[in-house]
């Protein structure tokens, strides 16, 4: 099995509370390199590596930086989205835990590349135990002149600030996230205006996931191993977090192109007590599901798209035969029912009615009309919701319609058969 440590290269190699220790293994050398580069060239490195946003939205990162740079308004800022709210997603936690200085270095490079004045790390409430190590990293970086005034003699001033969320999943959505930092209720707003134009405190804002950022110093240091990994259309490596009914749940760095089987049965040690797989959900609660038919497809953007799946955040939730599809969908729906911000009608009301229909299916008290109505609303919700939460909340259900049609079988049919 291919073993790779590219993004995770520094894990365990230095004292995460000591900038000296980090610098001893070459820390902040990428920043030195970046300072000698034009921001556009840094963005080009990201584009060449084909990095897509690793939080889940899969937006091309190089293009994002390039667009952010192009905005002519003053007071740019960079946000690191460490809200990591997708279910079964915990790779960012590992990156912050094991390599906090790399993230800070990445934030400085990002700030330099897009010409920002401030950087913000927005970390989910549940990671509050990681605050001391980030605060320490920021403090030490500042003491060494990697943050603050006149960084590395360039005349450029830049600071990084750490903010904690209060526990809402929706605050991983960019516009809700900025409102949360601003001290407002974390509810998304419509776009436009887009973040790059008017984001945090109405400043031009470039927002990136922890993993996306964490790749950058490595890429500037030595891009070759990254460029050689992966497939033609999905270059490099990805952090995946595997959970559910596997023997060895955890975070693994894998090259794109590895089979799903190699991840689930290789790295994650197979299914508990050798149960059969019921379903796998990729990319968190907002991700799509499939069954074991996809075990031998390659873990890559292109093969996933062909199979109506998304890589998303990189989470792989394996559910074995002990849980029924309908129970899984009910739990997922409970999650969205709890996490919807409630401001737009389709999401606020749609989630609760789909939850009611799923309950009816579970209890066998549904009618054929119920199934039709549920299917209509599973389509209406993503078509018309205000933000990405409502847009993706029915991804699991909609993919279940295709993968597990028997769960939603017509009653009249069932009776005829049975």
């Amino acid at each position: 099995m291919q073993k790779i440590n590219y993004i995770t290269e520094n894990f365990g190699k230095y004292d995460v509370f000591s900038i000296d220790s980090y610098m001893n293994i070459g820390g902040f050398q990428s920043l030195q390199k970046a300072i000698d580069m034009e921001g556009e060239d840094i963005a080009a490195v990201l584009s060449d590596a084909g990095i897509k946003g690793r939080g889940g939205a899969e937006y091309p990162m190089g293009r994002k930086w390039s667009q952010a740079r192009a905005v002519k308004r003053p007071h740019h800022c960079v946000i690191c989205n460490a809200d990591e709210g997708e279910t079964c997603t915990f790779k960012d936690r590992e990156l912050i835990t094991n390599d906090p200085f790399n993230l800070i270095e990445a934030m400085v490079i990002a700030g330099w590349a897009v010409n920002a004045e401030d950087g913000y790390i927005y970390m989910r409430a549940e990671y509050s135990h990681l605050r001391p190590r980030l605060i320490n990293a920021i403090k030490q970086a500042k003491e060494r002149g990697f943050l603050g005034k006149n960084i590395l003699g360039t005349g450029w001033d830049y600071d990084v600030h750490l903010y904690s969320g209060a526990g809402a999943y929706v605050c991983g959505e960019g516009t809700a996230l900025i409102r949360s930092i601003e001290g407002k209720a974390g509810r998304p707003r419509m776009k436009p205006p887009f973040m790059k134009q008017s984001g945090l405190f109405a400043r031009p804002t470039c927002i990136n996931n922890v993993e996306s950022l964490s790749i950058v110093p490595h890429l500037l240091h030595d891009a070759v191993p990254y460029m050689q990994a992966g497939t033609k259309e999905s270059i490099g490596t990805k952090m995946v977090s595997v959970g559910g009914n596997v023997n060895k749940p955890g975070v693994y760095e894998v090259p794109f192109g590895i089979t799903v089987r190699d991840i689930v049965y290789g790295l994650a040690g197979g299914i508990q007590e050798d149960h059969k797989i019921r379903l796998i959900q990729f990319g968190g609660a907002s991700g799509k599901i499939s069954d074991d038919r996809i075990l031998d497809i390659s873990y890559s953007y292109e093969d996933f798209a062909k199979n109506n799946l998304i890589i998303g955040s990189g989470s792989i939730l394996v559910i074995d035969e002990r849980t029924s599809v309908i129970d899984f969908l009910r739990y997922t729906q409970d999650f969205f029912l709890h996490e919807s911000c409630g401001q737009c009608t389709p999401c606020r009301e749609g989630n609760r009615h789909i939850r009611i229909f799923l309950e009816k299916i579970k209890n066998g008290t549904y009618t054929d009309e119920d199934i039709q109505t549920m299917k209509t609303f599973a389509r209406v919700m993503p078509m018309s919701s205000l933000c990405g939460l409502g847009e993706t909340a029915q991804n699991a259900l909609k993919s279940a319609f295709d993968v597990f049609p028997e769960v939603f079988a017509s009653k009249t049919q069932t009776e005829a058969v049975g």
Binding site: A185, S340, G342, C344, P346, E349, T373, T376, V380, S384
Partner: protein, 580 residues
Amino acid sequence: MEEKITLKINGMPVEVKKGTKILEAAKVLHIDIPHLCYHPDQRVKARCRICSVEVVGKKRLLAACATECWDGMEVFTDTKVVRDTQRGILQLIMADHEENCLTCPRNGNCVLQHLCSRFNVLRPNLTHVAESIPVKTTNPSLVHDPEKCVKCGRCIRVCKDVQGIEAIGFAGRSTGLKVTTPYEEEFNKTDCVLCGQCTVVCPVGALVEKDDTDRVLDAIFDPDKTVIVQTAPSVRVALGDAFGLPDGSIVTKKMVSALRMIGFDKVFDTNYGADLTITEEAGELIDRLKNNKTMPMTTSCCPAWVNFMEKHYPDKIAHLSTTKSPMAIFSAIAKTQYAKQENIASKNVFSVAIMPCIAKKYEAKRQELTQNGLFDTDAVITTRGLIKLIKYIGIDFNNLPESEFDNPMGESTGAGAIFGATGGVMEAALRTAYEWMTDKPMPTLEYTPVRGFEGIKEAQVEIGGHNLKIAVVHTLKNAALIMDKLRDGKCDYDFIEVMACPGGCVGGGGQPVTTTFAATKERIKALYTIDRSSKLRKSHENPYLKKLYAEFLEAPGSETAHKLLHTHYHAREKEFDFSK
């Protein structure tokens, strides 16, 4: 030159200004895209999503209220997916809506009801999930019934963006999201000043005024009561809305006929009270100027403004004119001089006021406005309430014959009429004050610097060697700007007129729910038309007023006048002060 773009809606080309939203562009083609949270006077919310439409090239539907048109855009408002979505959203709303349409105050003019009929939403295959939520009613003006709320946020926008009050906001999340007050307190404990703007913009029956029409009918049915009614200047230029007449139609004389048919014994005019207010207030201004009393003086005829001062600027209430509002001054005379003249016991005079306002309901309940334990004003009904009464009686309003107000308290001047428009009180007061201070009439009666829709208007008037600095303000957000200046000692005005509602009373919180800024502007024009066509245009020239002073009140500011026509204010503690 403005940039134009061309798009197609349902295959039909249309040219619009750059920046136009799809919903507005569709109006040009006479297509009304369904909407709930959209309001022409408010910024985009895009939260109800019922205006979702298909745009070629976009995977998802776009909100027509929020999406700017682009050149070459192709929009479809009538495809299956659009219908499924719009109808689906309606069904979702209805499943969480108290379906008591037949007993709802908004029955017949509810936006949601109208949409349901348009989309043929009958019985959706959704579980009814509405939960019973307590109604807030412990104030004289406003009723909040959250079970009817569709969470469109229009009320929150008007409260924050227009009035700057923020007495209501969203709380909670997901299905627990609700429009409520801080700590879910009753309105009297919040920053709310009962301006009622939320009841105008609410598309459904979630925020409505307290209904007093039954009390009025009970009094009419009571043989012992002489029921007199006064109508505020703004009602006559807004009432026509409900009967399909163009914005700003003047229906004074039909309104008088309708009031007689409803059964009022005497139909009087608040404009008479306005003339009296002006006469007293002009006298008060001159007195304050000459005797170095608290300056600047501000008007006090707007009850939401008075509430605002008592709650938000209690340290500044000495600036409020002590002259009672036209409604209160009218009722004070009605219960004393008029009752005496007509030989009716005060307690048997039932004084009804038809107002464009819900804060007037609160004003009428003020202890300061009582005599011998009797309220001067017994009931206040809004323009909307009057519409209900007219409909109840079954009056064919548009075909009514015209008739005149009763005397003496139906006589008024043009100055009384313009009270309903922002700047009107100032203009009316200047006409009188100028003449009294200089013994000459104002060179031009129509004082245009105080006219118009601008939020804060400033001017200087030369009166008898005195350079009077004046300001005219509408909406409380603007009023707060002026009051903050006053607190900072940077306010050198002599006289400030404040109206809480946009455009003044014509845009009041008790006006028809069809009220918009555009309609308000037409109503303002109508009031100026009434003024221009009046024989008398200066309050102090009202002949019945002259008689009243001669026979009863002696002179403006006399002891009797002071006792009857002036009031006082008191600081009101706010339960929660969020400013600190």
